[in-house]
């Protein structure tokens, strides 16, 4: 007597029931796992084989990037920039991300990634508009294929996946590269974006800049994973771990991932191990949560110094090249300084212009009210209120 009409009690020959009917390991996890150590090229024999022009280009961009970071930070002190989250120390990530992309590809930066946008060719003043505060996004994302610098952490990652997916549906071989911090990987949007990307096999690349801290919170309070790159396995995409201060290594890994995505090979998660040399922003006091010794240790692993060592070893850092590089960086800084010292021209009526394609009657009324107030401001005070 059984509760099920099954041939249960009259047992089959084999005592082994099969696996659950639909079970099969769907992907072999082994190739998805990141290496045990961060990938690096600088200082290894492989560096010798790297293309000299690429190294020089990376170097020039790093130097330019550092100069940009220094200048932007200086502008906060001079009151020309409200706030600046510096990427000093992270220039290799910023530059490599920009250089790994083709023109038609899209970059989805976080709020710290203005340098990546600049390295991609965006006007540095437009890149800083958000942080100066004259408008949220200072450039046309479509023109530059750079999504708005994104303040709410990790929330731009699903956008990158959606855009990549849409491009693929349209038959365009466009790749989207999205940048996020170590802290941002804890957000639900990180998870949902990577899962969508893997399921859709979207041509998206995710670059985690693990700089060890989310403001004051160290990685150990953020994640207990072997590495952040190991998160890739749970989505079914390859994870790569890279020395985030090794510009050629990053460039190689990013380029590979971008190319794979372009070929239809799906998304990749890349963790770049780096360090934020400056405080979180100019408003932050980093001494509250980290030691000088730690900062000094990372200064010794500076991305520019690392690359410089290699260039010098190969005799590529000629005085002439170094001077030209320095010169380019100074020109960028001078231009930035000069233009940021001018007050931007602002029209308060812009507040109402782009809320909807077609203004609602409610907004028309409110715009009229502001218009009247602005007009009254022009008028002597006694006349202002009837």
């Amino acid at each position: 007597m059984t509760v099920l009409e099954q041939p249960g009690s009259s047992r089959n020959k084999s005592s082994l029931p099969g696996p659950p009917p639909d079970w099969r390991p769907r992907v072999d996890p082994a190739p998805l796992l990141p290496d045990a150590e961060p990938y690096r090229l600088l200082g290894t024999p492989a560096a010798r084989g790297l293309d000299a022009d690429l190294l020089k280009r990376l170097y020039a961009e790093l130097v330019r990037g550092r100069r940009y970071n220094v200048q932007a930070t200086a502008l906060t002190r001079q009151g020309r920039l409200a706030v600046y989250p510096s990427s000093t120390g992270q220039e290799a990530c910023q530059v490599a991300a920009a250089l790994a992309l083709e023109d038609r590809d899209w970059l989805f930066p976080s709020y710290r990634d203005t340098l990546a946008a600049v390295a991609r060719g965006l006007d540095p003043v437009q890149a800083l508009t958000l942080l100066r505060g004259d408008w949220h996004t200072g450039y046309d994302p479509h023109r530059h294929r750079i999504a708005p610098l994104c303040t709410p952490l990790a929330t731009q990652l699903p956008h990158a996946v959606g855009l990549a997916h849409a491009a693929r549906l349209k038959g365009d071989d466009v790749v989207a590269l999205a940048m996020v911090g170590d802290g941002g990987t804890s957000e639900g949007d990180f998870h949902e974006a990577l899962n969508f990307a893997a399921v859709w096999q979207a041509p998206a690349v995710f670059l985690v800049q693990n700089n060890g801290f989310a403001i004051s919170v160290p990685l150990a309070k953020q994640s207990a994973a072997p590495s952040l790159a190991h998160k890739a396995v749970g989505y079914g995409m390859p994870g790569r771990l890279v020395d985030g201060n090794d510009a050629p290594a990053l460039h190689e890994v990013l380029t590979e991932a971008v190319q794979r995505a372009r070929r239809g090979g799906g998304p990749t998660l890349i963790e770049a191990i780096t360090y934020r040399i400056e405080a979180h922003t100019n408003a932050d006091d980093a001494t509250r949560y980290r030691t000088d010794a730690e900062v000094e240790a990372w200064r010794a692993h500076d991305p520019i110094a690392l690359l410089e060592r290699e260039l010098t070893a190969r005799g590529l850092l000629t005085d002439e090249f170094a001077a030209a590089t320095q010169d380019g960086a100074e020109r960028l800084a001078a231009d930035l300084r000069g233009r940021m010292n001018q007050d931007p021209a602002l029209d308060p009526m812009d507040l109402f212009t782009h809320v909807f394609a077609e203004q609602t009657s409610q907004l028309r009324d409110q715009a009229a009210q502001l218009r009247a107030e602005l007009d009254a401001e022009q008028t002597p005070a006694e006349e202002a209120r009837p």
Partner: protein, 344 residues
């Protein structure tokens, strides 16, 4: 095109059928229209609104997503950035909440923050409201959240014809539209011709559904049939009630609303969503701001109670019904002579 289908071809259709037809026609007319959501493909959605569309247009254009609402809306943002016109289905009202960050911080602001460079021609379909015996978290009315978010259009049909017309308009809009579908009207029927559909309804226009002289009932979505029933019942009390269907909560049709209230001098706002902080407060306040001297009585509200949505067996006590509406109409100070001396 303003022609209406000849009466002969009109036959009973449900709101669900009209919505399906609207999606179908929008997809046929514009290859950039893409539907996405949980179970919208093979199953046709738990309410079957997308029934048959994956089959007809392919899974790429009507696709089952992973189960993650922020991911659905967030990827739709990216798709819109690349020139598509995504139509997202949230399976139930309360399951849109995980996507609120994307909605508030991105969908509603993208055009504005980019100075017009990146519009968001997104439609977010949200089955809303109660009255269908749904278990916990399946009957919320969340329109207040959407209304408090600048940059969103908020539209809700109450008739079969509007289900078609407003959904077509929502999909055609270059701005994000939260399209609220009253769950309990999905199976409501009306004479309507799927072969010669009514013209696309412009977003932002209210519509008088019943003319009357004594007072105006202002409502939308699931409460429209209740108000019409109340207006019929009110005749016995000697009241001739006007019933106005807002159809679009944002943009709000101040003109039509004020014209009606100025004519009747009295108004009651009726909705299912909790009263406190709900749409009724906004509506009553703006009517009062604009029509103060025409009002014979304060604008009153009949709304859901200020409580979490009740379990199915108790929901009838929560939902605004005919009696509660009539009790409120009775409080519109019919007897008072105090308005006589008004200067307005």
């Amino acid at each position: 095109m303003t022609t209406t289908a000849p009466a002969a071809t009109r036959k009973p259709a449900t709101m669900a059928q009209a919505l399906t037809r609207a999606l179908h026609d929008a997809m046929a007319a514009d290859p950039t229209v893409h539907l996405m959501g949980e179970d919208v493909g093979t199953l046709g959605g738990v309410f079957r609104i997308t029934d048959g569309l994956a089959k007809e247009f392919g899974e790429d254009r009507c696709s089952d997503t992973p189960l993650a609402e922020a991911g659905i809306l967030g990827t739709a943002v990216g798709m819109a950035m690349y020139g598509l016109r995504p139509v997202v289905e949230m399976q139930f009202d309360a399951f849109a909440y995980p996507a609120f960050e994307q909605l508030i911080s991105h969908v509603s602001r993208m055009r504005n923050r980019t100075h017009g460079a990146v519009p968001m021609p997104l439609t977010i379909r949200v089955p809303y409201g109660g009255g269908i015996g749904g278990v916990e978290h399946h009957s919320d009315s969340s329109e207040a959240y959407y209304l408090a978010t600048p940059g969103l259009q908020v539209v809700t049909p109450a008739t079969v014809a509007d289900a078609y017309g407003l959904l077509r308009a929502a999909i055609a809009s270059d701005d994000p539209v939260v399209f609220l579908e009253p769950k309990r009207l999905y199976w409501s029927k009306d004479d309507w011709s799927p072969d010669a559909p009514t013209p696309v309804a412009p977003i932002g226009r209210a519509e008088i559904r019943r003319r009357g002289e004594s007072a105006t009932l202002i409502t939308y979505g699931p409460s429209l049939p209740v108000c019409l029933e109340a207006a019929e019942a009110a005749r016995a009390e000697g009241w001739d009630l006007e019933v106005l269907d807002l159809r679009s909560l944002m943009p709000f049709d101040d003109e039509a609303v004020c014209a009606s209230v100025r004519r009747t001098g009295r108004a009651v706002v009726v909705h299912e969503s909790p009263g406190f902080g709900g749409p009724g407060g906004e509506i009553a306040a703006r009517i009062t701001e604009r029509c103060f001297h025409h009002l014979e009585a304060p604008v009153l509200r009949v709304a859901g109670f200020d409580i979490p949505y009740p379990p199915p067996m108790l929901e009838r006590h929560h939902l605004p019904g005919v009696d509660r509406i009539l009790d409120t109409v009775a409080r519109l100070q019919w007897e008072s002579g105090w308005t006589e001396g008004r200067g307005a």
